[in-house]
């Protein structure tokens, strides 16, 4: 058995890149649709989530157009209800939850571990098919008239009153949940069982720690959503009394069960984002992450504490004030591990020679926007303020700062960072920086006015509003236009780079990590020789020293 160590692997010349890789190893549609290669499955997921992102984005833009004027002049109120419902369902269930784990995690995680594939390659492919079946229910509902319950499917409206496609769309969400569970299961087993020799737990990249925490949350929370949606479907179709008071049920029970999944789902969305940020911060500051163990354990702390806060979504739903006080306190505590991460990333940048490539621009955007989203989350965790701003645009702005300002910024950072590895081609740096700037400006112009308009009283989920809110809404719609341009640009130049981009070579960023020790794109089996890890994670000082010696020698 021949081995190579991480300290000499990054110096492989681009010309030594193996001619065969996962992209050209086999040809034909079936070689993709029946593949068990985690990298190809990641590409399938990338294409699918991009389609859903575009669908969700178009719906969002339609809403922003409606809100350009105070009158409901573009859509009826019923249509508007369907638009915000479908926007939420598509973006959360079919884009944000699978995006980073199923695309970047699927591609990078086994390579980071020095493994040939995930533990269960067939189950990995199965998860994509399940996702597509669930997603096709979503598309079916969009085509056949929509659903108007809001993405939360609150009872009793969803079970008793709504005459839209509640059953089909909840069935779609139910099915898609199994896809997440299978991905989480695959990651957990792979991380436990398939690490390369020498890759101990505390040598793991922080990406892996975050993915581990995400997988735990997926495994423990998603089944509860499945049960909740089944109960909803049972009550809606068979009129069994579970949530309907008229039948002896309790509507608040639905909210408890729904948010027991859906609040941790926020961490299913943001933890993978944090995973990407840790990698990019280390790579572009060329330093060890400050407080590695704190950042690693903060992921697990977020995963655990994230389960204890769900009822802050129910503060005005009639829950006990004593229970509300407990949940308010717990919600504030979950900010602590999140803050540890932000402080440690910032401390890593302190006195570093930071390179300002596109992924790093997105990282800086993430840190700022996630912090604003997190701090406004504390406003909402406070009982008194929550009563004031509940169901207002303040809440809309808050969670978009987390999900769009956080998760999507991190996804774009990760896509740009690993694009050379995935495709073997560099993206055009100037255009990418322009898009990062447009996304940052467009995002803030879209959502910051929503904090203001929400705080002064504009409720969410209405297609018409009082005229005094118009200026802020026009600003928001203008921002959405810039944001849309910022999102469209990468779709164009990344596609362009597939053919015309400069060849990337094995390690274009000079980064440490097993994924940068194999060729770009990686061979089907990821490594020609089993890597043996002898270095700590992010040991840039030693890496840079070794690189200098190699150059001089």
């Amino acid at each position: 058995m021949t081995t190579t160590t991480i300290d000499d692997a990054p110096f492989i010349e681009p010309s030594a890149t193996a001619p065969r890789n996962y992209l050209n190893d086999e040809y034909g549609v079936l070689s993709w649709l029946l593949t068990r290669d985690h990298k190809r499955i990641a590409v399938l997921y990338a294409i699918s989530v991009t389609v859903f992102f575009m669908v969700g984005g178009i719906i969002a833009f339609m809403m922003r157009l409606e809100l350009l004027t105070p009158e409901g002049d573009l859509f009826t109120s019923d249509t508007y209800n369907k638009l915000f419902t479908l926007h939420g369902i598509v973006m959360i269930f079919f884009f944000l939850i699978p995006a980073i784990p199923a695309v970047l995690g699927n591609f990078i995680l086994p390579i980071m571990l020095g493994a040939k594939d995930l533990a269960f390659p067939k189950i990995n492919l199965l998860s994509w098919y399940i996702y597509m079946i669930g997603g096709s229910f979503g598309i079916y509902v969009i085509i056949t008239g929509g659903v108007d319950t809001g993405w939360t499917f609150y009872t009793p409206f969803s079970t008793q009153y709504s005459n839209t496609h509640v059953f089909a769309v909840t069935l779609g969400a139910f099915i898609t949940g199994f896809s997440s569970i299978l991905t989480g299961l695959n990651f957990l087993v792979t991380i436990h069982r398939m690490r390369a020799p020498g890759l101990t737990w505390f040598r793991l990249p922080l990406f892996v720690w975050s993915m581990y925490a995400t997988s735990v949350v997926i495994m423990l929370a998603t089944p509860v959503l499945a049960i909740t949606l089944v109960l909803l479907m049972v009550e809606r179709t068979l009129h069994v009394g579970i949530f309907d008071p008229a039948l002896g049920g309790d509507p608040v029970l639905y909210q408890h069960m729904f948010w027991f999944y859906s609040h941790p789902a926020v961490y299913i969305m943001i933890l993978p984002g944090m995973a990407v940020i840790s990698e990019c911060v280390a790579a572009f500051t060329r330093k060890k992450i400050f407080g590695y163990k704190f950042v690693a354990f903060s992921s697990l702390a977020i995963a655990f504490l994230g389960f204890l806060v769900w009822a802050h979504h129910l503060f005005v739903a009639g829950i006990s004030i004593y229970s509300a006080m407990v949940f308010s306190f717990l919600s504030m505590i979950v900010a602590v591990p999140s803050a540890i991460k932000v402080f440690n990333w910032t401390a890593t940048m302190y006195r570093a020679s930071v390179s300002w490539q596109t992924p790093m621009l997105y990282v800086l955007g993430f840190i700022g926007l996630f912090t604003i989203g997190g701090v406004t989350g504390l406003f909402l965790a406070a009982l008194g303020i929550d009563v004031h701003v509940h169901d207002s645009y303040f809440v809309v702005a808050h969670f978009h700062y987390i999900m769009v300002g956080g998760t999507i910024m991190a996804y774009l950072a990760g896509i740009h960072y690993w694009w050379p590895k995935i495709t073997g081609r560099m993206y055009p740096e100037w255009w990418a920086r322009l898009s990062a700037l447009l996304v940052f400006v467009g995002f803030n112009l879209t959502f910051f006015p929503q904090f203001l308009v929400g705080y002064v009283g504009m409720p969410r989920r209405y297609h018409a509003y009082a005229p005094e809110f118009q200026v802020l809404n026009v600003l928001s719609t203008a921002g959405a236009t810039i944001l849309a341009a910022g999102y469209l640009l990468p779709m164009i130049y990344l596609f362009w780079s597939l053919k015309f981009g400069r060849k990337a070579g094995t390690n274009p960023w000079g980064a440490v990590g097993l994924e940068w020790a194999t060729s770009s794109p990686p061979p089907k089996e990821n490594f020609h020789e089993t890597p043996v890890v002898t270095w700590e994670a992010y040991d840039y000082p030693a890496f840079l020293k070794a690189m200098r010696e190699t150059q001089h020698g």
């Binding site: 040939k116 995930l118 269960f120 027991f260 769900w310 006990s320 490594f527 020609h528 089993t530």
Partner: protein, 110 residues
């Protein structure tokens, strides 16, 4: 190609290959049937507030038998035990915090 990361073929076939004798499975099956009869019988007797706790207790015993024997947890490695126990702890979190709402709704507000 070296073998170290090539665990995919072995995952899921750890040391938990202990097979219980067929008689044990039959005994567990009979026990489950007995408890099922007991559930139905208990539901037909008016035990006032004790009907629900008794039904739940029987259900817990049956679930434990299924998990330990039919799902082979009793002969599984420690990691499997950790996964099973932590799953129930999470279920406990769901119940305890949900009941923190239901059980305190009637408390006075000062």
């Amino acid at each position: 190609m070296a073998h170290a990361p090539d665990h995919a073929d072995h995952v899921g076939h750890g040391p938990a290959h202990h097979r219980a004798p067929i008689g044990m499975y039959l005994a567990v099956f009979v026990a489950l049937m007995v408890f099922t009869v007991l559930t139905v019988a208990a539901s037909r007797v008016n035990l006032h507030q004790w009907n629900t706790p008794i039904a739940l207790a029987i259900a817990v015993i049956k679930a434990t038998l299924v998990i330990l024997w039919f799902m082979h947890v009793i002969h599984s490695p420690r990691m499997t035990w950790i996964v099973v126990i932590s799953s129930f702890l999470w279920l406990g979190v769901l119940f305890v915090l949900t009941f923190s709402d239901y059980l305190t709704r009637g408390w006075p507000i000062y």
